[in-house]
Each structure stands twice: as C-alpha cells, then as structure tokens.
C-alpha cells in the first residue's frame, strides 16, 4: 500500500470496483493533472465505468472534490458510486 513519491492511488468501491475489476490502481503522474483529466483517462480505459459516469462521486484525500481539483503526487483519489449506508 506504500506509494512512490510521484504516484497517486485510485480507490474503487462497491460496484465501481466490479466495473473496473480492481479495488485500487496506482498511477504515475507524468505532470500536472486535474481530477477531471484523470476521470477521462479512466473512462477511456474502463468503458463499463464510463457508462456509469454520471452517478459517480469523487474524493481526493477523503474529501469530496470538484472536477477541477489539481492532483498532487501522493494524493489518494476515490471513485465513489452512490452510497447506501444507514
């Protein structure tokens, strides 16, 4: 679970993990990247995830985050499908 200095982690939960086929991806940052850009890249690689895009929420470092959020090395991004606790 330790991340290299130039990477970000992406966590997938519940059905999002099923759609991607993984609970966690580790990505190298080749340069500045926004959350929106990361999402677009993920959607290209994982069409089943893209099909549910409008339902997904995203968090950066455990806070819900807007698409324009700038990502930094070491960030933990989470792909959060509609929650159903309670």
């Amino acid at each position: 679970m330790t991340a290299a200095a130039d990477t970000v982690s992406i966590l997938f939960f519940a059905a999002a993990a099923d759609l991607v086929g993984a609970e966690r991806l580790q990505l190298s940052l080749a340069g500045p990247l926004t959350l929106a850009e990361l999402q677009q890249t993920l959607f290209r690689e994982y069409p089943p995830l893209a099909a549910q895009a409008k339902f997904l929420m995203w968090a950066v470092n455990e806070q819900y985050a807007a698409a324009q959020t700038k990502l930094q090395a070491g960030d933990t991004i989470a792909c959060i499908p509609p929650v159903s606790g309670g």
């Binding site: 993990a17 159903s84 606790g85």
Partner: protein, 165 residues
Amino acid sequence: MIQLTHAAIDPAALLESVSDNQAGAVLLFLGTVREFTAGEQTSHLNYTAYESMAQSSLLQLEQEAAEQYDIVRIGIVHRLGELSLGEVSVAIAVSSAHRATAYECSRWLIDTLKQRIPIWKQEHYTDGRVEWQHPGMDPNAVAGSLPGLNQAADALRSNLPKEQA
C-alpha cells in the same frame, strides 16, 4: 461516540454515551435489516465502507449537526460486514433539552448520512442473487459487467499518460 464497527451494535451503550442532566429528550434511531423489500426476500446484508473517509465524514457530520441544532450530545455507530435479518446496521443517538430539536437533528443526521457517508450495502437475496445498492444506478447494468473482482484487485497497475497539461 462516533464509530465504525464489525461487532454487533449495543444500543444501550450508545444511549449511555449521550445521557446528560441537561437533556430532557433522547432520540435513538436504529436502522435494521428488513426481510422484504419490494416483494424480494433478503437473506442477509453485507456493508462495506471507505473506512477512513467514512470515519472522518461521520465526525464532520456530527460537527455540522452541533452547529445547526441546539443539541447536547450525539453518538453514531455504523456496522460493517455481514448482517443477519433484524440486526442493527446503524444507530444514531441525540440528546437535547427539548424534544423538537432531537427529532429534527436525528432526522437530519440519518438523511444526510444516507446521502453522504461512503458506506455501501450489498443485498444477498434468498434466491442467491447478490446486488450492490446504488440509489439511481441500474443494478443490471452494473451486475452485467462483473469482471471477477479480487483476482485483479491490487495486482493491477497502470501507467496513464498525462492528458492536456
């Protein structure tokens, strides 16, 4: 007491934790595992969470409630893992000087928890079907693309190019 737990929730302990001489009203909400939903029979549930974020967002929820409502104490416990019929999945206790505040705050807490806290329920039906509960999403669309989780998890690494810098 703000807590995620894999053990059975003890409502009496939660009530004790919000007890206070300044309170004239205590309200305890329990979410419990129901056998039938829209005619379908549940066998058991499995709750999973983004645990660290769920914990911090529950603390945030408590703080927002304390700012909005004139309450004395708040306690929230959410269960994770496998739950049998009738078991308690979530317990929210609120104490306040007057009852109106307790009802309003309790209702706000459970409604907001259900909208915001990263916890997910997986229904296991008696007919063998297993279904993530994602309000708004079509369960068939999601279930149809099951690519065999767990073999892939954590092993997968990818190296994505940066888009438009």
